[in-house]
């Protein structure tokens, strides 16, 4: 059994952990389609026999109408009920319908005239349930697999359809011809198989959990029509859905025309007798089903995996275009009704076109089209499928139907048929080319969609914002919020006005500034007024605020704002603040006056500031130093020098910043001081030094700057990067040698690569790939260690911490791999962030989406290995050993007996501290001989305990 499973796993690329789900869904399809093949044959036979073939078009219209209405209701419930429950309901309903109809058939046996309508009812009813089941089952199957898994398993699962069909058809033939049973007493078979399928669905529900499903918070309370209109809006805002809808319409039109071509033009000419034609169809069905099974089992999943979902969707329209072109070419030279047409060639062409049109559609187009839903949030699947199948599909059918009715109206004489024999393929060729054209942007929309799904929150929020943009009462809403008593509402409104620069709110913001007592609101009002275009309105409010404001925290803000209005002459008013006791007010007044073009006694201001600086307490020194730097007088740099060595860090930082500002443009001689500042503990000092170094000559040693690429603060990282970018020619070799060193953090490597990746040669790029491969190896090893560690009893204090450290080390190795993939595949930072988040997420759906994005990225070697690892559900060390050997062709030398020795080999301070601590607990002695300072601090530094005893 295990051997068979292994062979099947290799043959169909199905992992051990996926078999249970795959088999259940395969059986559901097999059982349902077994019964469906009974019902389909019985339905059409009884309808034609009892109501006449002329009722067929009416029956088809009824089915289309019923499906349309059913789709609306279905879309509604997909948001409220789980997919598996809907599937169960559909199967149960079909069972009740089949058994009920069987009862009516039995009653109708005695009253044939009275119960003739039952045959139409059964035909329409069966196809209604059949179509809804076919629409829905794909969503359910997809929800039990990740985006990457479904690509592999979909082929195998869908083979349940032809196998069920063949078995059902054969059984029916035997029951009818060998046992001589009447078709109308076999309707219960559909009920029985649906009941079996229902039982299987219940088993699935209890044994396995869905991976991708809509969250309860997304469940809506909309009416069915609102759901469909929401789906319509979604389709309009989603490129992928637009292309899917257009692709479906084009496909259906081409499909129907091609069907007409071989069914009405070619076959009747080759097989004028209906008996011979029926025999041919029966033979065709057997071989076609076998062909379909072969394609489904061995080809579909393979080319999906090698080409990707987006590209694979080009296959069907390309096939269709090719066959249409061949048909057109042949029939153009040898029209169907002419004596030159060769019957054998015509038959061959008709068989090929029917196989592509019918079998390849189900084996290739349908599963590939279903996979496009990977790029759509699961909570949108139901409504969007309902839209495609309930509206777009019938619309396309009507277009094709109308066209065919018009064609039929041209007559059935040989000249018309000869004309149609090449005209129809030409139209099909055009629609197929259109299909290819649509599939190209659909491909990029799919990739973008899967990428977007990695950030679902952003995705959903964007929809909300789009909805909000439609509202025209933004002004009214902001006015209401400005008058609100809720502080947060007011601040939100002010922020909105500031960001959108809504000038017509200037009066309201100005009045709020004068009236409010809350500092934070005043601050936001001032920031908003500053952001609005300068106007007399702004100045008048700011001037009035300056005259009336008493709060010393607000006054500097007003003065700073007014300083932007150079044309306003408020110097006399501002001069009064030069005597203000609060330093911040004094400084703001000084700066206002000093920078004002019409203020003359600037020297006086300088003197006053310097006097305050010399006599000030340490707490106010940073303020005065900053003010002095804003005067931009280089000779003051000498005054600042003593403060550079002050005891207080804040003073040192302010002095350094002021010093750099004052010497702007002539900093090169002071480069060493700037380089020293890169080691400061102050972020401001580092940033100022980095900015200042940009105007200096290139450095001799770039190590301090490269080190800052790994800083926790993004501003420092960006400034370091900018400095390196500006000096790329000078620092390139240093960056290249660093990127291949083993001591870099993930962040440092990522940032360095962003600077130099395009400059690396082939050899260096290969080396980088080797680094990534080693990182992947380390990642697997770390996870193996973690697996062994977690299997051990939690008997010591450091157990949890060691697990966390191992997890972090593993993560950093994985991030190194993703970094290299990002650059090799020419992807963006956003790609790196989303894929990392996805792979490190605990949700398997997110992991699956991340893997799907990775597989579309364009890098094959590393991605293939990452996929192999993540697709296995590794639970024990044997599993890790197996995947390690598979990936690296060497055995994994990690087991429970040597795992601690492996931990000791890892260069990680926290881990080493944990191990030393553990050893101390076991032996009673702490051995710190070979430990660095950090480890010693972790294990020895002890602060006194604060005792609160009475």
């Amino acid at each position: 059994m295990l051997m068979i499973r292994k062979i099947l796993s290799t043959l169909f690329s199905i992992k051990n952990n996926e078999w249970e789900r795959v088999l259940y869904f395969f059986l559901v399809l097999l059982v349902f389609f077994f019964g469906a093949s009974f019902a389909r044959s019985i339905g059409i036979t009884l309808l034609v026999e009892n109501l006449g073939g002329d009722k067929l078009p009416i029956a088809f219209i009824c089915i289309d109408l019923a499906v349309m209405i059913g789709s609306i209701v279905y879309a509604h419930y997909t948001k409220r009920v789980s997919g598996i429950a809907i599937l169960g309901f559909l199967l149960l309903s079909t069972t009740v319908f089949a058994l009920g109809t069987q009862g009516l058939f039995i009653i109708g046996y005695h009253y044939p005239e009275l119960f003739r309508w039952v045959y139409g009812f059964f035909f329409v009813g069966f196809f209604f349930f059949y179509i809804l089941f076919s629409i829905h089952v794909n969503s359910v199957v997809a929800s039990y697999f990740t985006a990457v898994q479904i690509k592999r398993v979909t082929g195998f699962i869908n083979t349940g359809i032809p196998i069920g069909g063949v078995l059902g058809g054969s059984s029916l033939v035997i029951l009818l011809n060998v046992f001589g049973l009447e078709p109308k007493i076999l309707v219960w078979v559909l009920g029985g198989t649906c009941l079996c399928a229902f039982w299987l669905v219940r088993r699935i529900d209890t044994r396995v959990s869905p991976i991708r499903t809509s969250y309860p918070e997304y469940r809506s309370n909309k009416t069915p029509f609102q759901e469909l209109s929401h789906a319509f809006k979604y389709i309009l805002s989603s490129r992928l859905m637009i292309f899917m809808s257009l692709g479906l319409i084009v496909f259906v039109v081409g499909n129907k025309l091609l069907e007409y071509h071989y069914q009405v033009i070619v076959y009747p000419q080759i097989f004028p007798e209906s008996t011979k034609r029926a025999t041919f169809f029966a033979t065709y069905e057997i071989f076609a089903n076998l062909g379909w099974l072969f394609v489904q089992l061995f080809l579909t999943s393979r080319f999906i995996n090698s080409l990707g979902v987006g590209a694979s969707n080009l296959v069907y329209p390309a096939l269709s275009a090719t066959v249409a072109l061949v048909l057109f070419s042949y029939f153009f030279w040898y029209p169907s009704q002419s004596s030159t047409a060769d019957g054998f060639v015509m038959l061959g062409l008709a068989v090929v076109s029917q196989f592509i049109n019918q079998e390849m559609r189900i084996a290739v187009r349908t599963p590939l089209n279903n996979l496009l839903f990977n790029a759509i949030p699961p909570n949108q699947w139901g409504t969007n499928r309902a839209f495609l199948n309930g509206i777009a599909y019938p619309l396309a059918t009507y277009i094709a139907g109308t066209f065919l009715i018009l064609i039929s109206g041209m007559g059935t004489d040989s000249a018309t048929l000869a004309l149609l024999s090449y005209l129809l393929p030409l139209i099909v060729f055009i629609t197929s080319v259109l299909g290819i054209i649509i599939a190209l942007p659909q491909w990029s929309a799919y990739d973008a969609g899967v990428f977007g799904l990695l950030n679902r929150e952003l995705f959903d929020r964007r929809l909300d914002i789009n909805a909000a943009n439609n509202s025209s009462n933004l002004k009214q809403v902001l006015q209401e919020k400005l008058n609100s008593t809720d502080y947060y509402q007011v601040v939100a409104a002010l922020e909105m006005i500031r960001l959108l620069r809504l000038n017509f709110f200037a009066n309201q913001v100005g009045n709020l500034l004068l009236q409010t007592k809350t500092f934070a609101i005043k601050e936001h009002c001032l920031n908003t007024l500053a952001a609005l275009p300068q106007s007399p309105i702004n100045i008048s409010y700011l001037t009035e605020a300056l005259e009336t404001e008493k709060n010393p925290d607000v006054l500097p803000l007003i003065l700073r704002n007014l300083a932007n209005f150079k044309s306003t002459h408020l110097n006399t008013t501002v001069e009064k603040f030069l005597n203000h006791p609060v330093p911040a007010v004094f400084v703001s007044a000084c700066l206002y006056l000093y920078k004002h073009p019409h203020y003359v006694p600037k020297k006086e201001i300088e003197k006053r500031l310097l006097a305050r600086l010399m006599t000030s307490s340490s707490a106010n020194l940073p303020l005065y130093l900053q003010a002095l730097s804003e005067l931009r007088q280089p000779h003051h740099s000498e005054t600042i020098l003593p403060f550079l060595d002050d005891d207080l860090l804040e003073v040192r930082v302010a002095a350094f910043i002021a010093y750099v500002h004052l010497l702007e443009g002539r900093l090169n001689p002071y480069k060493s001081r700037l380089i020293d500042a890169l080691n400061s503990s102050s972020k401001e000092m580092k940033v100022t030094a980095l900015r200042a170094l940009k105007e200096c000559q290139p450095l001799e040693d770039w190590t301090p700057v490269i080190r800052l690429l790994g800083a926790r603060d993004r501003v420092i990282v960006n400034e370091s990067k900018e400095l390196l970018r500006l000096n790329l020619y000078a620092c390139r070799n240093a960056l290249i040698s660093q990127v291949f060193s083993g001591t870099l953090t993930v962040q440092q490597r990522f940032e360095i690569l962003s600077l130099i990746y395009p400059k690396l040669n082939e050899l260096q790029r290969r080396h980088l790939q080797e680094i990534a491969d080693t990182a992947l190896k380390n990642f697997v090893q770390m996870n193996s260690l973690l697996n062994i560690h977690q299997a051990m009893p939690d008997s010591n204090k450091v157990h949890g911490l060691i697990a966390k450290v191992l997890q972090e080390i593993a993560e950093s190795h994985l991030l190194t791999v993703i970094t290299v993939i990002t650059y090799t595949a020419d992807q963006s930072v956003e790609f790196f962030q989303r894929v990392s988040r996805g792979l490190l997420s605990l949700s398997r759906a997110n992991q699956g989406n991340a893997l799907e994005v990775l597989s579309n990225a364009g890098e094959k070697y590393l991605v293939g290995r990452v996929l192999k690892y993540f697709e296995e559900r590794l639970v024990d060390i044997e599993g890790f050993s197996h995947i390690y050997t598979l990936l690296f062709a060497e055995s994994l030398d990690i087991n429970a007996s040597n795992y601690e020795a492996h931990l000791w080999k890892l260069e990680h301070d926290m881990l080493r501290a944990c191990l030393l601590y553990l050893e101390k607990e076991r032996t009673g002695s702490l051995k710190l001989e070979h430990s660095n300072r950090k480890i010693c601090v972790l294990l020895t530094e002890k602060r006194p305990i604060t005792q609160h005893y009475a």
Binding site: P216, R712, G800, L801, M910, A913, L938, T946, A950
Partner: protein
Amino acid sequence: MIPLEKIIVLNRVPLFSALKTEDLHMVSTIASEEAYADGHTLFYEGDIGDRLFIVVAGEVLILKNQDNSEKPLATLKENDFLGELSLFDAETRTATARCQGECVFLVIERNDMEQLAHEYPAIALGLIKALIRRMRAMISQK
């Protein structure tokens, strides 16, 4: 307690579960060890909370005022913690906490935590992640 022991204790508090070990190390620098005598009241119901207590040793009785008397609600032991959310807001304590026997705590003040989070945004992000995790768990329980 040595820094590593503080990190071990902090690692067991769900609020800090999403923090990296380096961030836990940072938090350990603002966590002080405090000892209290038997019967000492850490805080009363209605007090404004601004400290997180993690029980390192001893037991703490949680009491609720009902009909002018204190009714015991629970007893907290080693590795339990009190006032987790006081690190974020200044809401009042919902119960009284009293030491039962001699107790040792690891204490974190809101102001220190705010400053640390301001300096190292990754820590703030880690705390937000832990809170969101808890919020999701609460939503799915409803």
